[in-house]
C-alpha cells in the first residue's frame, strides 16, 4: 500500500486545461437555451404560463423534463465515481434514488394534479386554513430548496474550476446569472425545455460513453465486470461496506425514497400537463429514463475502474483524482473517446447543473409568490399581472441569493446538504401532503405540527450526526449515531401529525374532504 503512493505518477490527461472545444460547446448550449428563453418569454405573461407553462406540456415531454430535473451533475459524476471506487455499493446507492418514482405514481401524482394549481402547498392547504398551512409548507419547501441549491452551486463552482480552469467565483456568478435568466424571462416554459434538452444530452452522452466502453469488451458488460473483478478482486461486484449498519441504510433509504415524493421542484412539474392521465405518462417516462440512467452510470463506473484505474480516480496525487472519484466519468470519456469527447461531456455536466438550479429557483419563486405573497399576505386575492410580477421579483432575489450562498460556502464539504434536503422533503413535505390527500381527519394544526416536527428534527439530528458533529465540529463521538435523520424524523412527523389532528377536530376540513372527492378521483373542477 505504501509503495502505491510513493510511485504514483501523475496521470496524463487534458482534464482541467481550458479546452476550446468544450467551452464552445457549452457556449452553444447557453446560446440555444437563451434563445429558447426569449421565445418562451413572449408566451409567459399569465400565472398559468409562468408557473405551469400554460399546462401545455405533453406527458412525454414532461417525463423528459422530470428526468432532467432529477438527474443532477452530482449524481452523474458522484455515482459514477462511487461505482468506480467502490463497485457494487454505488449501484445500491443509486437504486434508492429510483424507487421514489413508483411511489410518486401510486400515491401522489394524480391527486396532486387534480387538487392543486401551481405548488404542492395548494394540495396540503386545499381544505385546511390557508395561512398557517401555506406558511408551514413554504418553509418546508424553501428549506429543501435552499440546501439543495447550496449543494448544487458549490458543486457547480468546483466543477467548472476543475473542468475549465475558470475561477470559482466567476463560475458561481456565471451559473447564477444564466439560470436566473431562464426563469425570470421564460418561466416554466423555458425551464421545461432546458430540462428536456439537458436530459437528451446527458442520456445521449452517457450512452455514447457506455457504447465506446463496452465495445472494448465485445459489447458484453459482464466481460467488463469480470475484468474489474480480476483487476481489483471479486469484492467489487459484491456489496461492500456501504450497508454496514442496517439502521443507517434504512434511514438513507427512507430519505431517498420518500424524499423524492416530497421534492417541491419535482412535484411542481405535474401541473404543467393538462390532466391526470398525462401526469401518469410523465411518471412512466421519467422512471424509465432515470432507471436507464442509473444502469448507465453503473457501467460507466466500472468502465472507469478498469480503463482508467482506481489509483488515478481516487487519489489526488494523480493530478486528476479526488476522494469521491468525481472525475471518473470524464476520465473514462477521455480514455474511450479522446479529449474532444471529454470536453463534450464536461459541457453536458455544466449544462446539467444549470438546468437543475433553474428548476429549483422556479420552485422557490413559486413558493414565495404563490404561497406566501398571494395566499398569505394578500389573502388569496391578487391580479394575474401582480402575481407574475412578484414571482419575477422572487426569482431575481433567489438568483442573487443563490450566488451569495455559493460564494459563502466555497470550499465547504456540502455533500451532506443533499441528504439533508431529501430528509426534510421526506419528513416535512411528504407526510403532510400524503395525510392531506388520504386522511379525512387531518387538521390544520396537525399539518403545521407535522411539518414543523419533520423539518426541525431533520436539521437538529443532522447537526448531532457524525457528518457535522464529528467531521465539522471535531467532536469525538456523535450524539445522534445515524448519518441521515429520516428514520426518526419521518415517523415522528407522521405521528405528530396524526396525534395533533386527533386532538384538534376540524369539522369544516372533514366536510371538504368528502366534497372534494369528485375532484380528487374524477378530476372534476381541477385547474
Amino acid at each position: 500500500m505504501i509503495f502505491d503512493s510513493i510511485f504514483i505518477q501523475t496521470y496524463s490527461s487534458n482534464l482541467g486545461k481550458p479546452n476550446i472545444l468544450s467551452i464552445s460547446m457549452f457556449f452553444l448550449f447557453v446560446c440555444i437555451t437563451l434563445y429558447i428563453t426569449w421565445w418562451a418569454a413572449r408566451k409567459t405573461k399569465t400565472t398559468s404560463e409562468f408557473y405551469a407553462a400554460g399546462r401545455n406540456i405533453t406527458g412525454f415531454q414532461n417525463g423528459l423534463a422530470l428526468a432532467g430535473d432529477y438527474m443532477s451533475a452530482a449524481s452523474f459524476l458522484g455515482i459514477a465515481g462511487m461505482v468506480a471506487l467502490k463497485g457494487y455499493d454505488g449501484l445500491i446507492y443509486s437504486i434508492g434514488f429510483l424507487v421514489g418514482w413508483p411511489l410518486i405514481m401510486f400515491l401522489v401524482a394524480e391527486p396532486l394534479r387534480n387538487l392543486g394549481k401551481y405548488t404542492f402547498a395548494d394540495v396540503v392547504a386545499f381544505r385546511l386554513k390557508q395561512k398557517p398551512v401555506r406558511i408551514a409548507s413554504s418553509v418546508g419547501s424553501l428549506m429543501t430548496i435552499t440546501f439543495y441549491l447550496i449543494a448544487q452551486m458549490v458543486g457547480a463552482g468546483g466543477l467548472i474550476k476543475t473542468l475549465f480552469g475558470l475561477p470559482y467565483t466567476l463560475a458561481v456568478i456565471l451559473v447564477g446569472i444564466v439560470m436566473t435568466c431562464y426563469v425570470l424571462f421564460g418561466g416554466m416554459l423555458a425551464t421545461t425545455w432546458v430540462q428536456i434538452i439537458k436530459a437528451i444530452l446527458l442520456l445521449g452522452g452517457a450512452t455514447i460513453i457506455v457504447g465506446l466502453t463496452v465495445s472494448q469488451f465485445h459489447f458484453n458488460p459482464f466481460e467488463l465486470f469480470n475484468s474489474a473483478a480480476s483487476k481489483y478482486g471479486e469484492s467489487v461486484l459484491q456489496p461492500g461496506s456501504y450497508i454496514s449498519n442496517a439502521w443507517d441504510a434504512l434511514s438513507l433509504g427512507i430519505a431517498l425514497m420518500l424524499g423524492t415524493a416530497g421534492l417541491p421542484h419535482i412535484l411542481m412539474r405535474f401541473y404543467t400537463v393538462p390532466d391526470a392521465k398525462a401526469a401518469r405518462k410523465s411518471v412512466f417516462v421519467a422512471t424509465g429514463l432515470i432507471g436507464y440512467f442509473y444502469i448507465l452510470t453503473f457501467i460507466i463506473g466500472f468502465g472507469a475502474m478498469v480503463l482508467v484505474g482506481k489509483e488515478v480516480i481516487g487519489d489526488p496525487a494523480s493530478g486528476v483524482g479526488d476522494k469521491g472519484g468525481n472525475m471518473a466519468a470524464l476520465l473514462l470519456a477521455e480514455a474511450t473517446g479522446g479529449s474532444g469527447f471529454m470536453g463534450f461531456i464536461a459541457a453536458v455536466a455544466f449544462a446539467t447543473i444549470l438546468a437543475v438550479v433553474a428548476g429549483l429557483t422556479l420552485s422557490g419563486a413559486s413558493s414565495l409568490s404563490h404561497d406566501l405573497y398571494v395566499n398569505v399576505i394578500r389573502n388569496g386575492e391578487s391580479s394575474e399581472a401582480g402575481e407574475v410580477k412578484v414571482a419575477k421579483q422572487a426569482t431575481l432575489g433567489l438568483g442573487i441569493l443563490s450566488i451569495i450562498l455559493g460564494l459563502i460556502f466555497k470550499g465547504q464539504n456540502v455533500a451532506f446538504m443533499v441528504g439533508l434536503a431529501f430528509s426534510i422533503a421526506a419528513s416535512a413535505n411528504f407526510p403532510s401532503l400524503f395525510l392531506s390527500i388520504v386522511w379525512k381527519k387531518f387538521t390544520t394544526k396537525g399539518a403545521v405540527a407535522s411539518i414543523a416536527t419533520g423539518a426541525s428534527l431533520s436539521v437538529l439530528l443532522i447537526i448531532l450526526s457524525p457528518t457535522i458533529w464529528i467531521d465539522i465540529f471535531g467532536n469525538e463521538q456523535a450524539i445522534f449515531p445515524l448519518k441521515n435523520p429520516a428514520l426518526i424524523s419521518l415517523p415522528a412527523s407522521f405521528l405528530v401529525g396524526i396525534i395533533v389532528s386527533l386532538m384538534s377536530e376540524e369539522k369544516s376540513a372533514q366536510e371538504k374532504f368528502e366534497k372534494e372527492k369528485a375532484r380528487t378521483y374524477l378530476g372534476v373542477g381541477s385547474e
Binding site: L250, M257, T287, V524
Partner: protein, 95 residues
C-alpha cells in the same frame, strides 16, 4: 359545477367502488415497492452472501427494471379499468 351533481356522484355505488379500487391498488403497489426495496436493503445488511458472483448485479438490475414495470402495470390499470369506471360516472352524473 352544481353541487348536487358532485354530491350525487360521490354518494353513488359506482363511485364507492371506484374509490375502493383506487385505494386498494395504491396501497397494494406501494406495499410491493416498499417490500422490494427495503427487502433488498435488509438482505444486504444481514445476509449479503446471498449475492455471490453476479447475482447482486442481476438483483439490482431486476429491481430497477422491475420498478419501472410495476409503475407501468399500475398505469395500465389506471388507463383502462379506472378510467373506464371514471368515464361512466362522469357520463351518468355530470351531464
Amino acid at each position: 359545477m352544481p353541487d348536487n351533481q358532485s354530491d350525487q356522484a360521490i354518494n353513488s355505488p359506482e363511485f364507492k367502488v371506484l374509490e375502493k379500487n383506487r385505494r386498494q391498488m395504491s396501497f397494494l403497489f406501494t406495499f410491493l415497492i416498499l417490500t422490494i426495496y427495503f427487502g433488498f436493503i435488509l438482505l444486504i445488511a444481514f445476509n449479503k452472501e446471498v449475492l455471490k458472483g453476479h447475482t447482486g448485479i442481476f438483483a439490482a438490475a431486476g429491481i430497477i427494471i422491475g420498478s419501472w414495470i410495476l409503475t407501468g402495470i399500475y398505469i395500465w390499470w389506471a388507463n383502462s379499468r379506472y378510467d373506464q369506471q371514471k368515464q361512466a360516472i362522469l357520463k351518468k352524473y355530470f351531464q
